[in-house]
Assembly symmetry: C2
Homo-oligomer: 314 residues x 2
């Protein structure tokens, strides 16, 4: 969780601690899981997370994928009986340290997306993350929801009393919904309409159904229900660059792509082209130097939690 804060993904950081603690107290999470490999081949494995923290399960999955990829060139490790694992980029980035490319996908922990044209929320934001090392630049890291906005952004807008831009959500009549206080009356929109629906659907089947994890109607809303086993599914892929080519040559090639994107002329009003992962690297560097900023409201919430758990406050 502190790693999530370090890279500027505060919505996935210690901010979530009260929610995780509530789930543990309510018996919805196994604090002493026995994570087991239930299926295995040369280049794949399927883990059963024994209802443990998703962070534990998916760190182990990524380690196993990297281990296997060293000999097989690529490995795919899926997991079931897991839980919310924080930012998708964390697990995609693990292989990068070893000159590997990482890919991570999860079934989101609450359904906020109907199939395209529908009104029943059967799908989640199912995030996709891909991390690719460069030589002289930070790794390229894509970490995206398959919806235009992640649900966390809706909650943030509601907290701040701000309106949402058109395109984030629609109501049950198909009309734009811009008041986040009415979010429960509508649903998120997928990127590219039917395309984002398709991405959420196929990656949900790969991360959920294929692993024997929940997907579709049976997904538990982990915000509303802290007791039921979520049976969250995810998968992580590690690709050993060395199997394809010399890693240094590849990373120089990524530097060149990075440079090409940065050098593009810009549209009027745009001062700079961003490469995915650029902001993450800058925030991590700043937080490493200055420490991780914690807002007053977060400090209050954590102090209350500390008191409740009889541990020392911040």
């Amino acid at each position: 969780m502190s790693l999530a804060d370090l890279i500027g993904q505060e919505g996935h950081g210690v901010f979530r601690l009260p929610q995780y603690i509530k789930r543990i107290k309510d018996g919805g999470l196994n604090t002493n899981p026995e994570i087991k490999t239930v299926e295995e081949r040369t280049a794949m494995a399927l883990l059963d997370g024994d209802n443990g923290m998703g962070h534990l399960v998916m760190s182990q999955a990524a380690e196993l994928a990297m281990e296997k990829a060293k000999t097989s060139g690529i490995a795919w490790v899926g997991a079931r009986q897991s839980n919310h694992a924080g930012p998708a980029s964390l697990y995609a980035m693990m292989p990068v340290e070893k000159d590997m490319i990482g890919i991570y996908v999860a079934v989101g922990s609450a359904n906020h997306l109907p199939p395209w044209g529908g009104t029943e929320m059967l799908l989640s934001t199912n995030p996709i993350a891909v991390a690719i090392p460069a030589r002289n630049n930070p790794p390229i890291v894509l970490d995206m929801a398959t919806t235009v906005a992640a649900y966390g952004k809706v909650k943030t807008a509601a907290q701040r009393g701000e309106q949402m831009p058109e395109g984030w959500m629609i109501d049950r009549q198909g009309k734009p919904l811009t008041d986040p206080a009415k979010a429960a009356d509508g649903f998120l929109l997928p990127i590219g309409g039917p395309k984002g629906y398709g991405l959420s659907l196929v990656f949900g089947i790969l991360a959920g159904t294929l692993n024997g994890a929940n997907f579709g109607k049976n997904v538990i809303d982990f915000n509303a229900d802290s007791k039921s086993v979520t049976n969250t599914g995810h998968f992580v892929i590690a690709l050993d660059i060395n199997a394809f080519t010399d890693p240094e040559a590849f990373k120089s090639g990524v530097d060149q792509i990075w440079q090409e994107m940065k050098s593009s002329p810009t549209l009027p009003g745009i001062t700079e082209i961003r490469v995915p992962g650029e902001r993450l690297a800058a925030v991590r560097e700043r937080n490493r130097l200055n420490g991780i900023p914690i807002s007053a409201s977060l400090r209050t919430s954590l102090s209350a939690l500390a008191q409740q758990l009889c541990v020392e406050s911040l």
Copy 2:
């Protein structure tokens, strides 16, 4: 190519024949390629297509991935020195016949997409296809460009003299471009803004740079240049369902997801929810029964080509 027509992807079918023939005549394509495996591990391979037709190279790549996945559970086969290979769904669907899941990605054969906020067309529509077998329903097949509209749809609108909806393209000022006759003055928009840009970028690196194929500035526009070697890159993944679970149980699970999507209540004005792959299966069935319809203009173009090549006309 006839398979592309069979599944209703006419834009990738015999419609393309004149273009392929022109490239062969101009020496831009090797008609007698020696396709070689240049790198190999248990679960991966990298093919050099020797500048042959992409259809040949990627069929061979998919066969190899399926062969390897049988023992390793999953396999990833990349290719360089290849060419345009028609509809992405073809290669994703090959593993489905063998109770496997297929994934296919290609570097598009012409750049029409700038990085988000930029004006230099450094990226292509880089298609992503995923095919998943079901038990009693057609396979779920997602075949999508990472742009809101594929460039072919712009060309079709231009031919028909129709305007494009806002959201497909913008001009160099960032303003909506709706006249397809002015397409050369603007560029395609990615799905979900920066997200589609990110998808096109990372999958382009995986299909291009990682394989030693062209990506970014060095992509050859295969419409404008029929002489230069395109060095097209693609990759295909085969996942053996049997490594994860009983394939029949999995396919029943996919049927259930299919049913859940179809049963969702709909937005006002929408009569039916579509599952990706549904239309493809219906068109294939209809074309199998009735033959593939060929428009008068396509017949004329093919007859002219036949005369030019001294072969019998349709």
